[in-house]
């Protein structure tokens, strides 16, 4: 398994709510390889979001390790984690979460700007990415002028911009109608096949699950 991108060892997450402890994740062991197209499924509250947040370096484990390309996330400082996210992780959120004051093009260039990539290069790449998600004609539109499906496709383009090691998408289709959802999934799948980009997404949607090539099932914080 020389091409593993993410290795999770004995990962647990306990949230404390007053005297109560919520075991959101318990003893998870998992390996994700380069080029996977993987769905994390499970009932509400099973820990899907928690697991994705851990992998993306947004949340810290209570115990266990997450190793991304030889780097143990627990060893990174707060600011190192920010840079880790910027350079290694592409995020797609359920609620799109584009930056409202930026155009589609600027949203896609955002991370490249943070990486200080010259604007000539970032602009060119952003246009290519928007074209690849079928939005070549909307590059100067603000998010408020785009439909939900279009916004989510911009979000996918944004996630790809920094050439991340993998893309995490937490219920990317939950806010979309079935046609837009299918369209988005097709785009993701194409990117995965053509450019070997690793996708990890959570979903409730049976049709989305059907497109996945690997399914990780969670129940009460455990892989089943």
């Amino acid at each position: 398994m020389g091409n593993s991108v993410i290795k999770i060892n004995n990962l647990s997450k306990i949230y404390k709510e007053g005297v109560n402890e919520v075991h959101a994740l318990e003893n998870i062991d998992l390996t994700i390889n380069q080029g996977e197209f993987t769905a994390i499924v499970g009932p509400s509250g099973s820990g899907k979001t928690t697991l994705l947040n851990m992998i993306g370096g947004l949340d810290t484990p209570s115990s266990g390790n997450i190793i991304v390309n030889q780097t143990n996330l627990s060893s990174l400082s707060y600011n190192e984690l920010i840079n880790f996210r910027r350079d290694n992780v592409g995020f797609v959120f359920q609620a799109y979460n584009l930056i409202p004051v930026l155009t589609a093009l600027e949203n896609v260039s955002f991370i490249m700007d943070l990486q200080n990539i010259p604007s000539k290069i970032s602009r060119k790449r952003a246009i290519e990415l928007l074209e690849s998600v079928g939005l070549g004609d909307r590059i100067n539109s603000r998010p408020s002028k785009l439909s939900g499906g279009q916004q989510q496709r911009v979000a996918v383009a944004r996630a790809l911009a920094s050439k991340p090691k993998f893309i995490l998408a937490d219920e990317p289709t939950a806010n979309l109608d079935s046609k837009s959802a299918e369209n988005l999934l097709d785009i993701m799948e194409q990117l995965n096949r053509k450019e070997n980009i690793t996708f990890i997404f959570s979903t409730h949607d049976q049709r989305v699950m059907n497109k996945a090539r690997r399914i990780i099932k969670l129940e009460d914080g455990r892989v089943v």
């Binding site: 979001t49 947004l58 600011n79 959120f93 409202p100 004051v101 920094s162």
Partner: protein, 407 residues
């Protein structure tokens, strides 16, 4: 950095009304502070300048004892020759010897105490323009033995031009002073108190009256340039080593007035601190709203890899843009107003104007044109920006990305 500035600028347009209100409050605070500050500075400077020019000079020469005990025996002995030689000093614009003493005035069966001021008619007129205050009769000639009295005094003492007034007082070195003074003129005074209690005669007549050989109560000296005050005082002190003279600079002479002005300025400053505090809290509220409603955006940007420092800098730029535009607008609009009233001072009318006129002071209020006025607003607004950015710093440093994204 370009990205941050671009986003800050666009964020300002998201809520135009709020940005406009914040900007106008900064504008009005800075504008009011500048215009009223200029008026205040200008009015007090003008008052001090004219008091120096028309009344007290840049410094006065007196007998050291005179300062605390203004009796006849503490008057200054000085020769005409000496005075003339001072007057020819190129750094001195003009000087004015005066005698100030008290006497009992007498006419028939009426008596009244009065302050008798002996002036060199020519020199006094250069200072206070005394001649302008005369409403009846003629101004004093150089060695006039007559007297100028006020309107109220003339009425209460039943005196008219041509009548003679008897004065009895304290002379030099224990002598008794007494004299007869024909009324030469009746003058206007803006307040009845001064009018009823002050009379002018020539200094030579006043000297004869109190039996003072050659001298004055004090000599006011006006310089061509105030900068030379210490130099001239030292020069005169060197030339008059034998005589024990006291040189009293104008700050000392109007110490009480200066203290009053200082406390007026403090009150005034307090008013503007409060104005800025009010505006500061208004801005603070705006920043609180700006921060809270964008919590989710901040979390998204942070999860995408933007540092919190950059998020705060972005908000600070928004504040800065509001403050700088408000400040620049206020300077653009206040400067012509201040400049206009600086070169075209407000003309006073009514009682106050007449009072000033009588004292040879043109009844105007020029505005001050001082860089300090603009500078103070820049400092105030900078402090305000720093104060308002505290909230987002606190809020963002505690921001939990996962909790906010879950909402």
């Amino acid at each position: 950095m370009r990205l941050i500035i671009k986003m800050a600028w666009r964020n300002l347009w998201r809520n135009k009304k709020r940005t406009f209100i914040a900007l106008s409050s900064v504008f009005f605070a800075a504008f009011l502070c500048m215009v009223f500050g200029s008026f205040m500075e200008g009015a007090t400077d003008y008052m001090i300048d004219t008091t120096i020019e028309r009344q007290i000079g840049h410094f006065q020469v007196m007998n050291p004892e005179y300062k605390d005990d203004k009796i006849v025996d503490n008057f200054l002995i000085i020769s005409q020759k000496q005075l003339n030689s001072w007057e020819s000093n190129p750094k001195i614009s003009r000087l004015n010897p005066r005698i100030e003493t008290f006497a009992m005035a007498w006419n028939g069966n009426k008596t009244r105490p009065i302050g008798l001021i002996g002036v060199d008619p020519r020199r006094e007129n250069l200072f206070s323009k005394l001649e302008k205050r005369i409403r009846l009769g003629h101004y004093l000639s150089q060695k006039d033995n007559g007297i100028i009295i006020g309107k109220h005094f003339s009425q209460s003492m039943n005196l008219n031009i041509g009548d003679t007034l008897t004065l009895i007082g304290q002379g030099y070195h224990g002598a008794t002073a007494s004299g007869l003074f024909p009324i030469r003129a009746i003058m206007n005074s803006y307040d009845a108190q001064t009018d009823a209690s002050i009379a002018y005669t020539s200094i030579s007549t006043a000297r004869d009256f109190i039996d003072l050989p050659d001298g004055a109560s004090y000599i006011s000296v006006l310089l061509k340039d105030e900068k030379n005050i210490n130099e001239v005082i030292n020069e005169l002190r060197q030339d008059n080593k034998g005589n024990n003279y006291r040189f009293e600079p104008w700050e000392e002479l109007i110490k009480n007035t200066m203290a009053g002005i200082a406390s007026d300025k403090k009150t005034f400053a307090l008013f503007f601190y409060i104005l800025y505090i009010v505006v500061g809290f208004g801005l603070f509220g705006t920043v609180v709203m700006m921060t809270n409603e964008r919590e989710k955006e901040f979390s998204v940007m942070s999860s995408l890899g933007m540092k919190k420092k950059s998020l705060i800098i972005g908000l600070f730029f928004e504040l800065l843009i509001i403050n700088i535009i408000g400040l620049i607008l206020s300077i653009i609009i206040a400067t012509p107003i201040i400049t206009y009233f600086h070169s075209n001072p407000v003309h006073l009318t009514g009682q106050m104007a007449r009072a000033m006129d009588e004292y040879g002071i043109e009844p105007i209020f020029p505005f001050a044109l001082e860089i300090k006025l603009f500078f103070n607003q820049i400092i105030a607004i900078t402090l305000m920006s720093i104060f308002t950015i505290i909230y987002p710093i606190g809020k963002l440093s505690r921001l939990s990305i996962i909790d906010t994204l879950r909402k």
